[in-house]
Amino acid sequence: MLKRRQRCILSKLKKGQRARVIGINLDKTEMRRHLLDMGITKGTEILIKKVAPMGDPVDIELRGYELCIRKEEMKYIEVEVVE
């Protein structure tokens, strides 16, 4: 079980958990640019809201909206668990 304030990658989080973004571990790529454009910047709070029945992709809530994202992209997002 992940503890509060523990650092990990976003894909480790379970449904209903919240985390704060620390950074994106990616070089300058389109994927990184896209994640930034969608508002995944340092300090943003993310809630794991819905998970597809096969476990991937995942619907996350951030900045008052929802975004579908794959595990593959989530593993580049470094976060700190909030709850």
Binding site: R33, H34, M38, G39, K42, D56, R63, G64
Partner: protein
């Protein structure tokens, strides 16, 4: 005056476009409906309105963003109407912060305000307008409120260029330095600092220094810096102009607990798809088709009597009844089935369930090198391959998009439905529903296997993308669905009246005349027969016999798939002693068909090259004649091999 309509995907752009211009474009409750830019004229004003594809940012991440960015930067519209989903204000305003840099007047349209209350959101529109220094209008495109105010604002808009500084002073200073150095606008200056690849020629030592200064000051690269600072600005703005009460769980979340549930999601999906199939192809659809076909038969007989009584010559009677009524009627008989099919697809699209399907199947599709988004072209392709192929643009990854374009014609489209319905209805009796269902499963299997091989051998390391959102569930608007379905049906009927009519006359002519242009020759000596005989060997492995009649009919599938049926009907009718109430498979011409050859012939028509319309769409979307020819060669070869296997294995088994 040129006005561009810009906004996020699924922000209601197309609905607003239709309201302003009075046209009726396709709307869907899923991202990426606008795939090409479309132009219309705003009612009451003499302004051109351009509907651009939905985008989240002006960095060209997807093809849609590329189209929109190019348009805005190169064509410089006089006004940008920035439509904002007021229920996702933060994300929507991110694009706004970029539009505010272009030196173009921006009008901000807060859409979906009717849903704010339910979500516990309050937005102070006047304060927002003051804070960002431009016009803000509240509307609900769906409920048609606030449109007059928007039109008034456009009318009274004395175009002022518009730019706004939103960052702290040391960042703004750097931007100004770049602007002075290169005489560029704010947007370009920021792109230069971000070292955007489109501005690589500006990357000098001086710029590098400016960038390094920013990167060391803020301990992040400039791309991240500008994205963060934009969101920081929006965060402060949101504090000032909105008031958000913690929202309760909304209906969509509750519904998703069922539709995306680990255990029941897939059973529900299968039931829904089965229902679509059962209603359109199965019992309901086929009995309605039988009814209409009977009516058309009676009409044909009455017309024949009438013409004979009024003393028309034999060839005129034959042209009208055996050529036109038989050919066109064979296709029109399927209209009831198509209405049901189009209705089902329209409901899937507008309720928001289509997006759930992509979400559900993404992981499964990825095993075969496709993404969940690839299912959109496939489902739309159930109606018609042409829009299916075009909608493949929602797929960002080029190789995956190409695979989807090549594979979409494998889906049994509405025009192939008549072929399936006619063959399985006659040969498989009680099991006809099962047999037609098996063809859909065969299509899915072939698509997945082909995708897997395309990935393995042709486009190594093909990545897939998944950029989507789960829109809220909506009750479909009856008015829209009626319009959507009737447009599609009209299109189909129009084809029956144009392409199919022309072809029916041509087929009748080629069948009724010999090379010496003698009328009423024995059908065996007709022009069409001699053409068919030279190619019938190709179909020998599929049919187990040399049938020029089947061969020429199958080839006419290139014009339109439903033409296969028209042609077979005309040939059977003109050929031998077909009494009108019986199926063409009772005629001597087509009595050779067995269950295996019927199934093989269906499979061939299903998987071989699509109609010219779809081939044209493939060429447009693949952007290359060579690729298109390769794709068609692939489709024909696959269809021929598959059909040959089905026939031979089927015959072997039934002889056991």
């Amino acid at each position: 005056m040129k006005i561009a309509l810009v906004g996020n995907q699924n922000s209601g752009k197309t609905t607003l476009f239709n309201l302003l211009t009075g046209t009726n474009q396709k709307i869907g409750n899923w991202p990426g409906v606008t795939i090409e830019r479309k132009t219309g004229i705003i009612k009451y004003l003499n302004c051109e309105l351009i509907d651009l594809p939905g985008i989240y940012s002006l960095s060209p991440y997807t093809m849609e963003e590329e189209i929109s960015r190019k348009y805005i930067i190169q064509e410089k519209p006089d006004i940008i109407i920035n439509i904002v989903d007021s229920t996702s204000l933060e994300r929507s305003l991110y694009l706004t912060t970029q539009l505010m840099e272009l030196n173009i007047k921006v009008i901000i349209v807060l859409n979906m305000v009717d849903r704010l209350e339910k979500k516990g959101i309050y937005i102070d529109k006047d304060k927002l307008s003051k804070e960002i220094g431009t016009d803000v209008v509240e509307i609900s495109a769906l409920k048609n409120t606030g449109i007059d105010e928007l039109i008034n604002i456009i009318k009274n808009c004395n175009i002022k260029s518009y730019e706004k500084e939103i960052f702290e002073s040391n960042i703004e200073n750097e931007i100004i330095k770049v602007r002075i150095k290169y005489n560029v606008n704010r947007f370009e200056a920021i792109k230069i600092l971000e070292s955007d690849k489109l501005y690589s020629k500006y990357q000098t030592q001086d710029i590098k220094k400016l960038r390094e200064y920013l990167e060391t000051t803020y301990k992040m690269d400039t791309e991240e810096l500008f994205a963060s600072k934009r969101y920081e600005f929006i965060g402060r703005l949101k504090e000032k102009v909105t008031n958000v009460k913690p929202a309760e769980e909304n209906i969509s979340d509750k519904l998703d607990k069922i539709f995306l549930n680990k255990i029941v999601a897939f059973p529900i999906f299968i039931v829904i798809m089965f229902l679509v199939y059962y209603l359109s192809v199965g019992v309901v659809g086929s009995s309605s088709t039988d009814f209409v076909t009977n009516l058309i038969d009676k009409f044909g007989q009455t017309t024949r009597m009438f013409l004979l009584q009024s003393g028309a010559s034999n060839w005129i009677v034959s042209l009208v009844v055996d050529g036109i009524i038989t050919g066109v009627g064979a296709v029109l008989g399927f209209v009831p089935q198509l209405i049901i099919l189009f209705l089902c697809i329209s409901i899937l699209e507008t309720t928001g369930y289509m997006s759930r399907i992509t979400f559900l199947l993404d992981k499964f599709f990825r095993k075969f090198g496709l993404s969940g988004e690839a299912i959109i072209p496939f489902i739309v392709g159930l109606g018609c391959s042409v829009p299916g192929i075009m909608i493949a643009r929602v797929i960002k990854e080029e190789k995956e998009r190409e695979a989807a374009i090549i594979l979409t014609p494998f889906i049994p489209c509405s025009a192939k439905l008549p072929i399936i319905a006619m063959f399985s209805g006659y040969f498989f009796g009680d099991k006809s529903g099962l047999v037609s269902a098996s063809l859909y499963f065969l299509a899915i299997a072939i698509i997945l296997i082909s995708a897997f091989f395309i990935k393995k051998f042709f486009t190594k390391g093909m990545g897939t993308s998944f950029v989507s959102e789960l829109p809220e569930y909506k009750l479909p608007s009856l008015k829209y669905i009626v319009k959507d379905v009737s447009d599609k049906v009209k299109e189909f009927v129009k084809r029956a009246g144009t392409i199919i009519l022309t072809c029916s006359i041509i087929v009748w002519f080629l069948l009724s005349f010999s090379w010496k242009l003698e009328y009423a020759v024995n059908i065996e000596n007709s022009i069409l027969a001699s053409i068919g005989k030279t190619i019938s060997f190709v179909f020998y492995p599929i049919l187990g016999t040399f049938s020029w009649e089947a061969a020429v009919s199958a080839i006419q599938g290139l014009v339109a798939k439903e033409q296969v049926i028209s042609s077979m009907n005309i040939i059977a009718g003109l050929g031998k002693d077909l009494s009108s109430s019986l199926s063409i498979f009772n005629s001597e011409t087509f009595s050779f068909f067995t269950k295996p050859s019927a199934y093989a012939f269906m499979a061939f028509n299903l998987f071989s090259a699509p109609c010219f319309g779809a081939i044209g769409a493939m060429k447009r979307e693949l952007g290359s004649t060579k690729k298109t020819l390769k794709a068609i060669a692939f489709q024909i070869t696959l269809a021929w091999i598959l059909a040959s296997i089905i026939f031979n294995v089927g015959t072997f088994i039934s002889n056991l």
